[in-house]
């Protein structure tokens, strides 16, 4: 257990070299790769996400943490079993049609990946039909919609309406976010959740996956 605490702390302290060392050490000691991933790296990123939410850590630090985690995952990947890489929740994320902003949305995608879910980042300017198609194709359990403009916020509702019409609404939980988006707006358009930053988005996504 101490090992995992040290891995978590090292990740939060952004010490990439030391983290790689600790992951290799843990493997040498015979600790299963899946445990190192879940109880070490992902648990560490949960702390990073929380710190981001509380403004104890900031975007550049979160990016460094994610990069360090990525290095750790690279080491573990060949050793992870089939179920450990495929059983994770599948998330579709994109910026709605008419909106080309992607910085915040990409941070959310990165944090969702770091939380141990699989994020399919579709990009920007994504039409409702495309979201629907990808939910089917990836058998997604979560849909994350981003909009940065008051003029594209209505497109979030249109996208949700398209998901309802497609008959897939019961299969996915829908999260919305972006600078002008509020909890009240999320409620109004029938989304399941709102997140104000990438840290809380990852936490919320995890919670929603666990509801299934």
């Amino acid at each position: 257990m101490t090992d995992f605490n040290e891995i978590k702390e090292t990740l939060v302290n952004l010490d990439e070299q030391r983290l790689i060392q600790l992951v290799n050490d843990a493997l040498e000691k015979g600790i299963p790769a899946g445990d190192i991933l879940n109880k070490g790296l992902i648990a560490g990123m949960d702390i990073v996400g929380e710190k981001m939410e509380n403004e104890d850590m900031f975007i550049p630090e979160v990016l460094m943490a994610a990069r360090a985690m990525g290095k750790g995952v690279e080491i573990l990947k060949p050793l992870l079993g089939e179920e450990e890489t495929s059983a994770r929740g599948s998330v579709i994320i994109g910026t709605v049609k008419g909106d080309l902003h992607d910085i915040g949305k990409n941070l959310v995608a990165m944090m969702i990946e770091s939380a141990g879910l699989t994020a399919h980042n579709l990009g920007v300017d994504i039409a409702p039909e495309e979201f629907v198609r990808m939910i089917k194709e990836k058998n997604a359990s979560i849909l994350c919609l981003s909009a940065l403009l008051t003029t594209t916020m209505p497109m979030m509702k249109q996208t949700i309406d398209a998901v309802v019409e497609s008959g897939l609404r019961d299969q996915v939980k829908i999260m919305v976010g972006g600078a002008p988006v509020t909890q009240a707006f999320a409620d109004e358009i029938g989304a399941d959740a709102f997140a104000s930053d990438a840290g809380s988005a990852a936490k919320t996504a995890k919670a929603l996956v666990n509801q299934f």
């Binding site: 900031f58 910085i103 002008p180």
Partner: protein, 266 residues
């Protein structure tokens, strides 16, 4: 001199939205007067946040602001129909916010602008999204200037917004936009450079010190206008001081006047 576009009259700001919803004439007029006193050269008016109410809100705002406006307005909407109405309601040639290279926006804004007496903010945005390099910003600015000149707009009426991006996500985002502004200004000395600045500090703490340090760097590169809150006295003081240091203030008169009136403090 640096031209300040006062950004406060925007219904995405909570207090402004409440005042617009309640048709609170005094609140809006006082806010505009405060911005003018603080040195705003244009007053931006954006009524877009109450979805479905933009037209009536814009009309009310212009009726409310018109009688007390001493500076031109900056009409801020993506909808040419609303801009057309707004253009007909102002008595000084306005600034229009904005055109971009996004096809839909571009194709509807060009016929609107043709033959109008106005200034135009031109965003370096196209259908692929935000610019990814200095060269990308420059190429987009060149396209915008060429197109706007082709419908008879003077370079002096064009305000290029190079789109400032967060330095928190990529440490080169500051130099990327600074280098681009330097080159655009070099190629088109009469074209203005404007835009919001606060994106630079997104995702970092103590944002205001970043914003006001950045504006002085941008001014050295050639930025000569910005869309900001003129009631933020610290950024206004930084702008006035930088303008003097860059040789735009003969005998330091504007600086000294600012100090005596209490606007500029160390």
């Amino acid at each position: 001199m640096f031209q300040v576009i006062g950004e406060r009259i925007n219904t995405s700001r909570k207090k402004i939205q409440a005042a617009v919803t309640n048709r609170d004439t005094d609140y809006i007029q006082n806010d505009v007067k405060n911005q003018q006193e603080a040195g705003a050269d244009f007053i931006d008016v954006n009524a877009g946040a109450r979805i479905g109410h933009e037209k009536e809100d814009m009309k009310w705002l212009l009726d409310t602001i018109g009688p007390i406006a001493t500076v031109p307005l900056c009409l801020d909407s993506p909808d040419p129909a609303i801009l057309e109405m707004a253009y007909g309601m102002v008595d000084k040639p306005p600034m229009i916010n904005s055109i971009s290279l996004e096809k839909e926006r571009f194709d509807t804004m060009m016929p609107f602008l043709k033959g109008k007496e106005c200034k135009i903010i031109a965003l370096c945005m196209d259908d692929t999204g935000m610019p990814v390099s200095s060269d990308d910003i420059i190429a987009r600015a060149q396209k915008l200037v060429a197109q706007l000149e082709s419908i008879g707009m003077k370079q002096d009426a064009i305000y290029i917004d190079p789109l400032v991006q967060p330095i928190s996500t990529d440490s080169t985002k500051g130099t990327m936009v600074l280098d681009a502004v330097r080159q655009i200004k070099n190629q088109y000395p009469k074209v203005h450079i404007t835009g919001g600045l606060s994106n630079i500090s997104y995702g970092l703490p103590e944002r205001k010190i970043i914003n006001r340090t950045f504006v002085t760097l941008m001014m050295d590169a050639g930025m000569d206008s910005a869309i900001i809150d003129p009631l933020d006295s610290k950024i206004m003081a930084a702008i006035r001081t930088a303008d003097m240091l860059l040789g735009n203030d003969n005998f330091c008169m504007a600086y000294l006047k600012g100090v005596r009136s209490g606007i500029i403090k160390s």
